[in-house]
């Protein structure tokens, strides 16, 4: 039986997919996941999910959004200034990063990381 493994680097961060393991039951899956995915990189928590329980639909079966012009829902479209409030500038930075990632065809995992980085940037900026 295949179990998909999701790793959380530190408390408060997101669990992101990092691989899978063979195991006969959940307990063993957790043990193997620890050995394979929790030993080298800093890890705060791991999730294991039976692979067959994961539903999937891909771009061959359906047409996803994100290909038509949706510029009306991006902050960058509106040419008012964003720098008067740090949280608005931060939101726009995150959107710009996501847009760049979309163009470069990066994976969802990288996107999640970028969003998290944006969040930290906001925290620092908030004291202003």
């Amino acid at each position: 039986m295949i179990w998909e493994v999701f790793r959380q680097e530190a408390r408060g961060k997101y669990h992101t997919h990092c691989g899978n393991v063979h195991a006969p039951d959940k307990e063993m899956a957790l043990m193997f996941a620890q050995i394979q995915h929790g030993r080298r990189r800093p890890t705060h928590s791991l999730w294991v999910v039976p692979g067959e329980e994961i539903g999937e639909v891909d771009a061959e079966e359906t047409t996803f959004g994100g290909t038509t012009d949706k510029s009306y829902r991006w902050a960058m479209t509106f040419n008012t200034d964003e720098d008067f409030a740090e949280e608005i500038a931060a939101s726009q930075r995150e959107q710009e990063q996501a847009e760049r990632a979309d163009r470069a065809g990066e994976s969802d995992e990288d996107e999640a990381d970028e969003t998290a980085t944006g969040a930290e940037a906001t925290e620092e900026g908030e004291s202003a």
């Binding site: 009306y72 829902r73 008012t80 964003e82 409030a85 939101s91 959107q95 996501a98």
Partner: protein, 318 residues
């Protein structure tokens, strides 16, 4: 064996994203967090209903698209937040949605007032959303991790909402004389409510002390209102809006603003807060009616085999 964390430990450990569904939090924490997140979720939903008519009333295709995207975002924020609240084990999503429908669920003061005209939309889209964004950015550091995670996605999306709101404000403020007058009228009407957005001063706020001691809140009402005025008062002036004489706002030499609290209508505020304000009750009821009209959609998802005959004649939200 998991032992429920005592309040002392909670206060000691309180910090950004410190507690999650795996922690056995004391009931007092879980109740306080539920109260706060449910209020926030309800506000997203009621705000979306207030803006929904402007998908139709928007004067151009661009504005229609932006308004429909925004309303969709806000409903999504409500759902994210109900999930974050549900994780606390005090109330289910269904309970919270029922409470909003039957008038028990509380939400932001500004969303109790009807919005009838296009020129009023920047009052919500720029000023109220801007105030909310100020507050939400601080909540990325709340101690309840699922709440902070919801805030990551909400803040990501919200930048567009506020810039869109400002873009409408600029268009009206630089438009015809008539448009300028109308936007000033809207501002005169909405400004006192916007000042009350952050609630009463901290010393009068009932829930502030505990929420901040356990890290749910990271900034007080007073500080947030200050931060809001610092950024948004200059904006109002920039667009030629005249700040109403009352409520009086004193500007101190150190750049600090002081709102004369007695100039604000706190009777109305508390009436609003208790869901007793008539226009607000009408808004709660109209959302309830929309929710009931589309109950058949939810039912057919739960039991597809029942078909559309189960709920009688299928209704529409409006």
């Amino acid at each position: 064996m998991r032992v429920t964390m005592d309040i002392g430990t909670v206060e000691e450990r309180a910090g950004p994203r410190q507690f999650g569904p795996k922690d056995d939090m004391p009931e007092e924490y879980r109740k306080a967090a539920t109260r706060m997140i449910q209020f926030h979720a309800n506000s997203e939903i009621m705000g979306a209903y207030l803006e929904r008519p402007f998908i139709r009333q928007a004067p151009s295709l661009d504005r229609k698209l932006a308004f429909s995207a925004k309303v969709q975002d806000e409903i999504g924020h409500g759902q994210l937040l109900y999930r974050a609240a549900e994780n606390l084990g005090i109330k289910t999503r269904k309970q919270m949605l029922d409470e909003l429908a039957n008038g028990e669920g509380k939400f932001l003061n500004c969303f109790h007032y009807p919005m009838d005209h296009w020129w009023e939309t920047p009052m919500i889209g720029f000023f109220v959303d801007g105030a909310a964004m100020r507050r939400q950015a601080t909540l990325k550091n709340t101690s309840w991790e699922p709440y902070a995670h919801a805030m990551d996605k909400i803040c990501f999306e919200e930048g567009f909402h506020i810039k869109h709101g400002e873009s409408i404000l600029r268009e009206l403020a630089t438009g015809s004389r008539k448009e300028q007058e109308l936007v000033q009228e809207a501002f005169d009407e909405w400004w006192p409510r916007i000042l009350q957005f952050f609630g009463p001063t901290d010393d009068q706020s009932t829930h502030h002390d505990f929420a901040s001691a356990v890290g749910l809140k990271t900034m007080g009402n007073d500080e947030l209102r200050q931060a809001f005025l610092n950024a948004y008062l200059p904006k109002a002036r920039k667009y030629g809006l005249e700040i109403p004489e009352y409520p009086r706002i004193h500007e101190h030499n150190d750049g600090r603003y002081e709102v004369v609290e007695d100039d604000l209508d706190w009777n109305e505020f508390w009436q609003v807060a208790k869901n007793d304000f008539e226009p607000g009750v009408a808004q709660i009821d109209s959302r309830k009616a929309a929710r009931e009209a589309v109950a058949w959609v939810r039912e057919s998802m739960e039991t597809p085999s029942a078909g559309s005959s189960a709920g009688g004649v299928p209704g529409a939200a409006d």
